[in-house]
């Protein structure tokens, strides 16, 4: 009982800042007593060009070519990728998937998640910075904003100016382009679920179904709102991935870093001046890295959760360094370890092969292989055997016991198929009526099957039997287990 005696706890008092201290803080303007809600300042990201910007635009083109293009692709007589929710058939190129194939969707989701873990562990938030729809659409919407309203400074001026014909024209044309793109996006999204060509005709004739209309406009509105207005707010407050990624970061993860040792003390100077003589670092404090940041942070303060690793600051800083004739890379992709210990590129790359990365890679490869093998070995049809609910067993003339089964046969090919049924497991087990049957392309059919067993050929009770269903003119064989009941 002695060990149950509570050990004395160390009590640490909560210390509250004293009144004068707080007052002092608020009078200096640094500390304040404000609303518990934060008003958001609109961010005007300056457009940027450079190596990483080119990559981001390449990703914009690749992802959007796939997204906007895929529904228009034909496969034989039908749309190549179509998720027909009403008929519950999912067509992906040559594949016809049933809801029963849900495991493949789970597989793809597991692969996506593991892929995200792997990329994040190695290279940080590359997904966020280059491929995430939020980033990609924001990039496109920003570009539309730029061609109508101009770049950062022009937009700042325009927003500050009073309403004029010029302002109205610019704003209206921006809205027109935004809404057109958003609607096209919503339309494309619905085109994955309903044949896009017919949808296009009914879109033009304004004769879409109520759900199609809802989703075209809802998805369009979400695109418009998120890419046009919410932007970095989505990453900061709504995206769960942005927050749980920190669990995948370690000190060898690639992040956007500011080389503080080299940059500080920052300060403006003439191009011709010698920074060493002026006791200055490489940072000329031009604040361009802050101006281009789509999430409005100052990367010079170090790694922050808002940073989506888009490298806009790297691109713009490199151009400044070039102008100043300083070496590039004051802001660069590096790792915490590399910056602290001054590693070179090869040392940094060697750290990629660390246990965490290898484990992620191994699991990712295993799951991917399992998915593809399972898809390759997939039977072109499925069978469910359900015992008839009406009667367990019945005795019929001719001294026979009958059991009735319903076979749900699902044809996962795009041709009418003929199947042959056989049953085994008990001596003298007979299929009545014997025969083959056909199932239309991509259709499921319930077939009633009666099995007969001579009286006293088996003891009373339940006996395991097997149905063997064979495709007559194409390969494929399914064996399903069931039971035959013999009454007492």
């Amino acid at each position: 009982m002695d060990n149950l005696k509570p050990t004395p706890r160390k009590v640490i008092p909560i210390t509250v800042m004293a009144g004068e201290q707080l007052q002092a803080a608020s009078t200096t303007g640094e500390g304040e007593s404000g609303s518990i809600y934060q008003a958001q300042k609109k961010i005007y990201p300056r457009s940027v060009t450079g190596f990483f910007s080119k990559w981001r635009w390449a990703m914009v083109f690749i992802t959007q070519l796939v997204f906007y293009g895929l529904p228009w692709l034909e496969w034989g007589q039908r749309q190549a990728v179509l998720f027909d929710l009403e008929a519950r058939r999912f067509y992906i190129l040559g594949l016809v998937l049933y809801p029963q194939d849900f495991i493949y969707l789970s597989g793809i989701l597991v692969i996506s998640a593991l892929g995200l873990f792997l990329f994040t562990a190695v290279a940080g938030r590359q997904w966020c910075g280059y491929a995430c729809p939020q980033t990609v659409y924001t990039e496109i919407f920003l570009w539309l904003e730029k061609i109508t309203e101009g770049d950062r400074s022009a937009r700042l001026r325009l927003d500050a100016s009073p309403m004029s014909v010029n302002k109205l024209t610019r704003k209206a044309s921006k809205q027109f382009l935004w809404i057109a793109l958003a609607l096209w996006t919503g339309f494309t999204f619905v085109g994955y679920f309903t044949p896009i060509k017919e949808l296009g005709v009914s879109f033009i004739n304004a004769s879409m179904g109520p759900w199609e209309t809802f989703w075209v406009f809802f998805y369009g509105f979400a695109t418009y709102g998120n890419a046009g207005y919410m932007r970095e707010q989505v990453c900061k407050y709504m995206c769960p991935y942005a927050r749980f990624q920190s669990a995948m970061f370690d000190k060898d993860t690639l992040i956007v870093t500011y080389d503080e040792a080299r940059g500080e003390p920052r300060g403006s100077r003439s191009k011709k001046a010698d920074p060493v003589a002026l006791n200055l670092g490489s940072c000329i404090d031009c604040t361009l890295c802050v101006q281009v940041c789509p999430t409005g942070i100052d990367i010079r303060k170090g790694l922050q959760y808002e940073c989506i690793s888009c490298a806009a600051c790297i691109d713009v800083c490199d151009t400044v360094m070039d102008k100043m004739n300083y070496p590039r890379g004051l802001i660069r992709y590096s790792t915490q370890n590399a910056v602290v210990q001054g590693w070179g590129k090869s040392q940094l790359l060697r750290r990629i092969f660390r246990p965490r990365v290898l484990v992620y890679t191994a699991i990712l490869l295993a799951v991917t292989a399992a998915l593809f093998i399972s898809l390759a070995l997939r039977s072109p049809f499925k069978v469910d055997v359900i015992r008839d609910r009406a009667s367990l067993a019945r005795i019929v003339s001719g001294g026979k016991i009958e059991n009735v089964y319903r076979l749900q046969v699902m044809n996962a090919t795009e041709a009418t198929q003929q199947y042959r049924i056989a049953a085994s497991g008990l001596p003298g087990l007979m299929l009545a009526p014997e025969g083959t049957f056909t199932v239309d392309a991509t259709q499921a059919r319930g077939v009633t099957v009666t099995l007969q067993l001579p009286y006293e050929a088996a003891s009373p009770g339940s006996h395991e039997i097997h149905f063997e269903i064979e495709s007559v003119n194409s390969p494929g064989r399914v064996i399903e287990k069931s039971v035959f009941l013999v009454p007492r």
């Binding site: 640490i12 909560i14 210390t15 509250v16 800042m17 201290q21 707080l22 803080a25 200096t28 640094e30 500390g31 304040e32 007593s33 404000g34 609303s35 518990i36 809600y37 934060q38 008003a39 958001q40 707010q233 900061k236 407050y237 008839d388 609910r389 009406a390 009667s391 019945r394 005795i395 019929v396 003339s397 009958e402 009735v404 089964y405 319903r406 009526p433 025969g435 083959t436 049957f437 056909t438 319930g446 077939v447 009633t448 099957v449 009666t450």
Partner: protein, 306 residues
Amino acid sequence: MSDFTSNFWSVYVAGISLLGILGCLVLLWFSGKAKAMTANDNTTGHVWDGDLREMNNPLPRWWVWLFIITVIFALAYLALYPGLGTYAGKFGWSAIGQYETEVAKGNKEVEPLYARFNSMKPEDVAGDPQAMAIGERLFMNNCSQCHGSDARGSKGFPNLSDKDWLHGGTPDKIVETLVKGRIGNMPPMAAAVGSSDDVRNVAHYVLSLSGSPHDSVKASLGKSKFGACAACHGVDGKGNQAIGAPNLTDDIWLHGWGENSIVAIINNGKVNQMPAQEGKLTESQIHVLASYVWSLSNKPGAVALK
């Protein structure tokens, strides 16, 4: 809410719902007024365990609009749909109402499909593959529970795929059976037949009618007692479809084969019922379904497999 004798619970539930929403609004208003104290290092100034400081991470202001939208949604929902006690809502929506609308809509949708069959004779409908596919589904959903998926019945539930009919197997008769249902009534006949030996002898005579294994001495003794049965089953035992009396000569035994089963039926009688489908199925559906049932015994190899 007819389960309650007074409207107290209705008012109680409605009151709690509205108070809850009002509470949310008060909380929103209060939180909008509240001030958070932050020191110059963007913490609240609170320190726990020596070094654990509480950062000030304010919620974005636009987030408040999400709360306001939920409140507006809740009020609009409660005004339009049932939710406030017994108040039925402006739309007068109900689950039963929605079900009925959907059934009516579904029936309207399939109407043109059935229209083609309505003008056809049942014999022709039975030859139409589309009609038979519909008939099979109707049968699976409405008939197979008793008659089995293969329509071959079970003890007490007639086999529909043979030529033996209790109430007649013409399409008209099948429609009649479907619409009105049937009640087969075999009264207890032991008293009319005589002693228990007489009953046993009659049972053997009945077995002899279909050439089933029987004791010919008992059967010949039972023949004279069969008069009590002949009123319904006929002198020759071939039954009477007008009153649903089964044919006893065809070796089909709905309620069990053998001496003991027959004795039990004579002693105890039996009432067997086919429920009426009128009102559950539309006239067109019954037309197609009757044709399907007719086709089961009137086309060779028409059972399910093709």
